[in-house]
């Protein structure tokens, strides 16, 4: 199969992720969408690695996963903290500061 198709898939996933961030209200879902975007990047890296015939892409994907994991730790802790104070995980509720 033409590796370019993976790139299309990657772009599609990235877009879905971005759309999710823009459309979903629940912080966790929003955050998952961000993760989806990161994974779309991973797919792209791997594909490009394949296309360029080197392993950099795959290695980068590992790094990304680690970073994403760290992000999860930090992100979830923040989301949980805010959930505890507000009893809501809706990102739209957190809008005290504006203008």
């Amino acid at each position: 199969m033409n590796p370019v198709n993976y790139l299309y898939l990657s772009a599609l996933l990235f877009t879905i992720g971005a759309a999710g961030v823009l459309l979903r209200r629940n912080a966790i879902v929003v955050f998952m969408c961000v993760e989806l975007m990161l994974n779309a990047c991973n797919l792209a890296f791997v594909t490009f690695g394949r296309m360029h015939d080197n392993l950099d892409g795959q290695i980068i994907a590992f790094f990304t996963m680690v970073v994403a994991a760290c992000e999860v730790v930090v992100g979830l802790s923040i989301i949980i903290a805010i959930f505890r104070s507000r009893r809501s995980a809706s990102v739209d509720d957190a809008s005290l500061m504006k203008w």
């Binding site: 961030v21 823009l22 929003v30 990102v91 739209d92 957190a94 809008s95 005290l96």
Partner: protein
């Protein structure tokens, strides 16, 4: 490119004017020339800076310095009599004032026959009026200040006539304006006085504008503004330039000499103490315009158009003043109108060119005597009458103040041109010169001067009769008099006041004859102003006869009106003409309608424009930015998804633009 020696020859070339001023540097007795100006100036400075400490002796000091100036002036005169030809014209360079390349403004004095006449007139009459004021102002708490201003005036006036260039003349010109302002408004606590002073100064400034522009023109044309160079070069410059300069000088003269259309201030200027009216607004300052035109003879000679304008202005003012004078009940305003009219004569004469200059100056001098005398007389009357100025509240005063009556009477006879008195000689010569101009304009001008002579006789007789003859109308209280009104006790003034009046009366009687004797005055001035006889279209005697007839007529009419009939103590209703004359022929109304009102509206409009327009624009800009800010900050909704959307949109934009930049 005039040769240095042209003065001597030019003096004799009757039709060509003086041909410029060429002078020798002041030496010998002349080197004291600066003292003429310096002494009164010193007085002014001492009295103003010295303040209250000089109160006890201020008036004495000022009078002494004025007299000192007079003495120096006489010394100069004697010295000048000794010399002949060019030796009579001296220059004294004092210091370099404001040098910028071509522009070399110097403080330098110039004394010649013309300025000599003025020096003597100013210091002479000035000294007399100083003396008079000692008595007149005896009870004024600010007498010292008054004398300081008088000294300042004398200094400025002397500077005006002694300057050797137009710029310095301008200094004196404005200086006398200032002194006039200070003295008209001397009783500042009276709003009318303060207003009159301001009005005088501002109208004078309009004239000064003309002088300033004239100097600019001289500088651009000749690269200099010294009398010597400008007058010497005036024949070489183009007609247009000379006409422009001439008209601008005329404007200046109109302002200073209260000529039409800048005459309105003079009547109001009578708010000042009477000695001031005598000195400044009769004898000296107001005649500065005549001096200016005469001094600039070469310029006017080079421009017939400008000359014509001068005569027209003079003619209008002669009649204007005379008509107004006929209707005024305020003795000082009547005299002021007369002054205006008489100066109109002088200006008219000066506009005639070499045939008139000398007579203009001659009339100026004789007028200086008799008008000053008349004013001092009026002051004396007021002094005895609780400062009443309304002639309708006078009457029969000759018994109470005989000296005043006699001196005033002599002045009166002189001004109406009673034969063999001063005014007769000088005015008659002007009438002759007007006819001698020739052509239609000559006839018109002659007729005007004759008519004015008649009017003069009429209004002066009226003044005389209303004041010194008839019923003693001051005995009854005026309608609507205040509760504390008390009957005045007319009395003769002290010697310090009558003395100067007597001396001036002598001048009024004899000066004209003396000047006319052997044409000595004309000969004296000819080296400076040039002289030409012109062609009189009739015999001199005919002119004189007509003039005397007009005077007699005017006197007779006045006699019929004011001696044979009771003078009402309140101005009666009168014909529109009289009403107009009483209101100065609506000159104030015209000024108000044409200048003041629109000016006020303009000012108000501009104030509004400055606030709402200029400032408003800037404020609007600021408000626009602020408003934009207030709107744009709403984009920051506080919703994280909106932020994400803006980021996403931004990303798309950046990506798209990057791609497009490549395409483009």
């Amino acid at each position: 490119m005039i040769e240095t020696s042209s003065l001597a020859s030019g003096a004799l070339l009757a039709n060509e004017g003086g041909g410029g001023l060429h002078s020798t540097a002041a030496s010998g007795a002349f080197s004291a020339l600066w003292l003429v100006v310096g002494l009164p100036l010193l007085g002014a400075v001492l009295l103003l800076v010295g303040g209250k400490r000089t109160n006890p002796f201020g008036h004495i000091l000022a009078t002494a310095l004025a007299l000192g100036s007079f003495v120096v002036g006489v010394l100069m005169f004697v010295t000048m009599l000794d010399k002949s030809g060019p030796g009579r014209s001296v220059d004294q360079h004092l210091w370099t004032w404001a040098p910028v390349n071509e522009f070399q403004a110097d403080i330098g004095l110039h004394l010649d026959q013309l300025s000599m006449v003025f020096v003597l007139l100013i210091t002479g009459v000035g000294s007399l009026i100083h003396i008079y004021s000692i008595g007149y102002m005896a009870h004024d708490e600010n007498r010292r200040r008054f004398f300081a201003y008088l000294n300042l005036f004398v200094a400025a006036m002397l500077l005006l006539v002694l300057a050797n260039n137009y710029l310095l003349l301008y200094v004196g010109w404005e200086g006398v304006g200032l002194a006039s302002y200070l003295l008209i408004g001397f009783w500042q606590h009276k709003p009318s006085a303060a207003t009159a002073a301001k009005k005088a100064f501002i109208m004078n400034r309009v004239g000064d504008f003309g002088l300033a522009v004239a100097i600019f023109l001289m500088f651009t044309t000749f690269g200099t503004f010294s009398f010597e160079d400008v007058l010497g070069g005036s024949a070489t410059a183009s007609d247009g330039t000379m006409t422009a300069i001439g008209l601008m000088l005329l404007l200046a003269a109109c302002g200073k000499s209260a000529q039409f259309p800048l005459q309105a201030w003079l009547g109001d200027a009578m708010e000042g103490p009477t000695p001031v009216s005598a000195l400044i607004h009769a004898a000296t300052m107001v005649t500065a315009g005549v001096y200016l035109i005469t001094r600039s003879a070469e310029i006017f000679d080079a421009s017939p158009d400008a000359q014509l304008a001068v005569t027209i202005v003079g003619a209008i003012t002669v009649l204007f003043g005379a008509i107004v004078g006929c209707a005024k009940d305020d003795i000082k305003k009547a005299l002021a109108a007369s002054t205006m009219s008489q100066i109109g004569y002088m200006i008219l004469a000066a506009g005639l060119g070499p045939i008139g200059y000398a007579f203009a100056i001659m009339h100026l001098v004789t007028h200086g005597f008799f008008k000053a005398g008349l004013f001092l007389g009026a002051g004396s009357v007021m002094h005895g009458m609780n400062d009443e100025v309304d002639m309708r509240r006078y009457g029969g005063l000759r018994k109470y103040m005989p000296i005043t009556f006699v001196t005033f009477g002599l002045g009166y006879l002189a001004i109406i041109g009673f034969p063999l008195l001063s005014g007769f000689f000088s005015k008659d010569k002007i009438i002759e010169a007007a006819f001698a101009k020739g052509g239609t304009s000559g006839w018109i001008l002659g007729a005007v001067t004759l008519l004015a002579a008649g009017l003069t006789a009429y209004y002066m007789t009226r003044v005389m009769l209303m004041t010194f003859f008839g019923k003693e109308r001051w005995k009854e209280a005026p309608a609507g008099a205040p509760a504390d009104w008390h009957e005045p006790h007319p009395h003769e003034s002290p010697v310090s006041m009558t003395g100067p009046m007597i001396l001036l009366a002598f001048g009024s009687v004899f000066a004209g004859g003396l000047f006319a004797l052997n044409d000595s005055f004309v000969k004296w001035l000819t080296p400076v102003t040039g002289f030409s006889h012109g062609d009189l279209p009739m015999s001199e005697w005919a002119v004189t006869g007509m003039a005397i007839a007009m005077v007699a007529l005017g006197t007779a009419v006045a006699y019929l009106q004011y001696a044979r009939r009771e003078v009402p103590s309140v101005a009666p209703a009168a014909s529109p003409v009289t009403v107009a004359a009483r209101r100065d022929l609506y000159q104030d109304a015209i000024n108000e309608g044409l200048v003041m009102r629109p000016g006020q509206y303009l000012t108000r409009l501009l104030v509004w424009f400055d606030n709402k327009g200029v400032d408003g624009f800037v404020g609007g800009l600021a408000a626009f930015v602020g408003g934009t800010s207030a709107r744009v900050r709403r984009v920051q909704t506080g919703f994280v998804r909106t932020y994400a959307l803006s980021m996403f949109g931004g990303t798309l934009l950046v990506v798209a633009c990057t791609l497009m930049a490549r395409m483009a």
